[in-house]
């Protein structure tokens, strides 16, 4: 079935131009990554002269980006659909705590994975119902969920750290397949699935349409409410996956975990070219956004620089990315007229 009623030619034309813009932006982010690596090589040549270390470092950067990368994919969909999900960190904490309770662990790894995914989906469902059918502003609904889900996580865990006894779950973080950590493979799979979902399915088209202009989307016959609901469930599902990954990495869970992941995920989506007002965004860009942050952290770590400076640099990059975004929508002449 087709949902597009806009004039075919102009729409396709715009699509092509957008694609080009997206590619240019992604190349820009690749350039930033290359510059960061070059700075690393210049500042720590003795580390970079060891090929084994370089390979390990590359995989470490990817691994450090894996859980937050999965969350960012979900977040990108929500933002493209015109919403925002501030509760992702809290959902991760709740899903991770829920799947490491004594009772859940007695069901084994399958039970734990099922629980984490079901909790993620369930919380996403509540978010989606509140926003789509309860007509709450996404910012408020997910902010409330942020507080409530962390509260519930603290309640369930009794504010204690819950150790995961499952060797299967803990093994996810140590398993490597042909030298590539399983966590990185999961990230790649989620990114690939996200890319296909956004670019090659009606679900993706509808998400863009709903975020770009909900009224037009409704008139075009899209069930805007259901689409919105599904987007928040998708974000919740990504959080469930990330919860398993983080639990595996930390071999435990607690209510305070995944602190401020919402900010990292939103920031990565935005520097990846997702428009905060919705209707436009790319999965590959979001991935590069996450990798830029992960590489900066790595660069600061190998040079023993303080995290204060690192946070300032991160902030600067976010501002720069948004400025670039704005410049593209105003021609230079318009800018000078002001």
């Amino acid at each position: 079935m087709t949902t597009e009623t806009a004039p075919a030619e102009t729409r396709a034309g715009r699509e092509r131009r957008r694609l080009d813009e997206g590619t240019i932006r992604n190349l820009g982010l690749v350039a930033v990554l290359v510059i960061l690596v070059i700075i690393g090589i210049i500042t720590r040549p003795e580390l970079y002269s060891d090929p084994t270390w370089v390979r390990n470092n590359f995989l470490t950067i990817l691994q450090q980006a894996s859980a937050i990368g999965v969350v960012t994919v979900g977040m990108t969909f929500v933002i493209i659909g015109g919403g925002i999900d501030l509760s992702v960190g809290a959902i991760i904490a709740l899903a991770a705590v829920w799947c490491t309770t004594v009772a859940t662990q007695s069901f084994g790894a399958v039970g734990m994975i099922f629980t984490a995914l079901a909790v993620g989906l369930g919380v996403g469902l509540v978010n989606g119902v509140l926003i789509a059918y309860g007509r709450l502003v996404p910012f408020i609904a997910t902010l409330a969920m942020l507080v409530a889900a962390r509260g519930l996580a603290a309640q369930i865990s009794g504010k204690q750290t819950q150790i995961s006894e499952s060797s299967v779950i803990n093994g996810i973080a140590t398993t490597k397949i042909v030298g590539i950590p399983l966590l990185v493979i999961i990230l790649a799979a989620v990114v690939a699935a996200g890319w296909v979902l956004l670019n090659r399915t009606t679900f993706g088209r509808r998400s863009v349409a709903v975020g770009g202009n909900p009224e037009a989307a409704r008139l075009a016959g899209i069930n805007v409410k259901r689409q919105t609901l599904l987007l928040y469930m998708l974000s919740g599902l990504c959080c469930g996956i990330a919860a398993i990954m983080l639990t595996s990495q930390a071999t435990s869970a607690q209510a305070a975990m995944a602190n401020l992941y919402e900010l990292d995920a939103i920031a990565a989506a935005i520097i990846g070219g997702t428009l905060l007002s919705g209707g436009r965004g790319t999965i590959v860009g979001a991935l590069f956004g996450v990798l830029v942050f992960s590489t900066i952290t790595n660069l600061f770590a190998i040079n023993n620089l303080s995290t204060e400076v690192q946070n300032m640099v991160k902030g600067g990059i976010i501002v720069a990315a948004v400025l670039v975004q704005q410049f593209r929508y105003q021609s230079l002449t318009q800018l000078f007229k002001r």
């Binding site: 004594v102 039970g111 865990s157 983080l246 071999t251 869970a253 770590a301 023993n304």
Partner: protein, 345 residues
């Protein structure tokens, strides 16, 4: 529509089923033993006047703070003459100030308080003291001396000092001349973190050593895992590591295992049960931890009772409880771990 409604019924049923299954999965009886003083042979233990203790500590999801409240409750239960009224202080200093105002109005015999921030709650504590209710200041210190009857706290600088001395001694004994030492602090913007790091650097300087790389975490397990992964990547070879907090240490140890590293030894901080167990088992790089024990909450309740009943500490000459007590940071190693096992939290 009929097929749709059947689908809805199916989905609805599945959702309800999953929900029921999930609710069953929240049960979580990990009975953590509290740190209590059961010393009943003492004359001070004999029941005296009825004491109502108002207790307030920040609501936090961190294991240490949770242990503080649990310990206070468990210790109060040891006394037949103590009634403990716990008021959760909410999430910030303002909420705790409000909680304290309510508490003062209820006129308890004495207040035991772990403030969100000593400076911010100083005046509120002064108010309680002026209302004739003695205040026991737990851990985070009030700057004014008229804001508390008793201050009992841990020693952050001493903790760093203990960790630095242990690492220095070990490396000297091994004959390492130019060691590579890593450090994983907790939340770096906190004063307590700075004090711990100061103590650590001071102790290392005695041996002529210094920290090669320092990656702060945030007291969470996943934060510890991330910081440790970064640190291990930055230091391909390391001799010693101090992690400020055993709670985030669970993540730090996981990261070390994942990176397959074992050429160094690690010292923890706080004295969590999981850390003491690992030191006893001696199957990880964790060889010692320096205490910052939440047992101070149990002691605070015991001392609050004595203050309210006008009794002193029986081993001291003075007839009343002293005004300030700072716990020593002790070093737990494999040799003395058994002794500390009951103090783990």
């Amino acid at each position: 529509m009929s097929s749709l409604s059947r689908r809805r019924v199916l989905f609805g049923g599945a959702a309800v089923g999953a929900g029921a299954l999930l609710t069953a999965c929240t049960s979580n009886d990990t009975g953590t033993p509290a740190q209590v003083n059961q010393n009943s042979g003492d004359a001070n233990a004999a029941p005296g006047d009825k004491v109502v203790i108002g207790f307030t500590a920040p609501a936090a999801d961190h294991g240490w703070i949770a242990a503080i409240t649990n310990n206070a409750k468990a210790q109060a239960q040891q006394y037949s003459d103590v009634e403990l009224k716990v008021t959760e202080a909410g999430s910030d200093a303002a909420a705790q100030r409000a909680a304290l105002a309510t508490m003062i109005a209820e006129k308890p015999t004495i207040i035991v308080m772990l403030p969100h921030d000593g400076k911010e709650l100083n005046s509120a504590a002064e108010e309680a003291m002026r209302a004739g209710i003695p205040v026991v200041n737990l851990d985070r210190a009030f700057p004014s001396r008229d804001a508390y009857r008793l201050q009992i706290k841990g020693d952050n600088f001493g903790m760093g000092l203990a960790a630095g001395s242990y690492i220095g001694e070990q490396l000297k004994a091994k004959g390492v001349s130019n060691p590579i030492i890593g450090e994983i602090p907790g939340i770096d913007s906190l004063e307590l973190t700075q004090e711990r790091s100061d103590g650590f650097n001071t102790a290392l300087a005695v041996y002529g050593f210094k920290v090669a790389n320092r990656r702060p975490a945030d007291f969470t397990i996943d934060g510890g895992q991330k910081a440790a992964t970064d640190l291990l990547q930055a230091l391909p070879k390391m001799d010693a590591l101090w992690n400020h907090d055993d709670d985030q240490g669970v993540g730090v140890l996981a990261a070390i295992k994942q990176a397959n590293r074992s050429e160094f030894f690690m010292v923890g901080g706080a004295g969590a049960k999981s850390a003491i167990d690992a030191i006893t088992a001696d199957d990880t790089v964790l060889k010692a931890t320096v205490t910052y024990s939440p047992s101070m909450a149990s002691s605070a309740i015991s001392l609050a009772r004595l203050i309210a009943q006008g009794k002193g500490m029986s081993d001291l000459v003075e007839l009343q409880v002293p005004k300030e007590i700072t716990l020593a940071s002790e070093t737990i190693t494999k040799e003395n771990a058994a002794q500390y096992a009951k103090l783990g939290f």
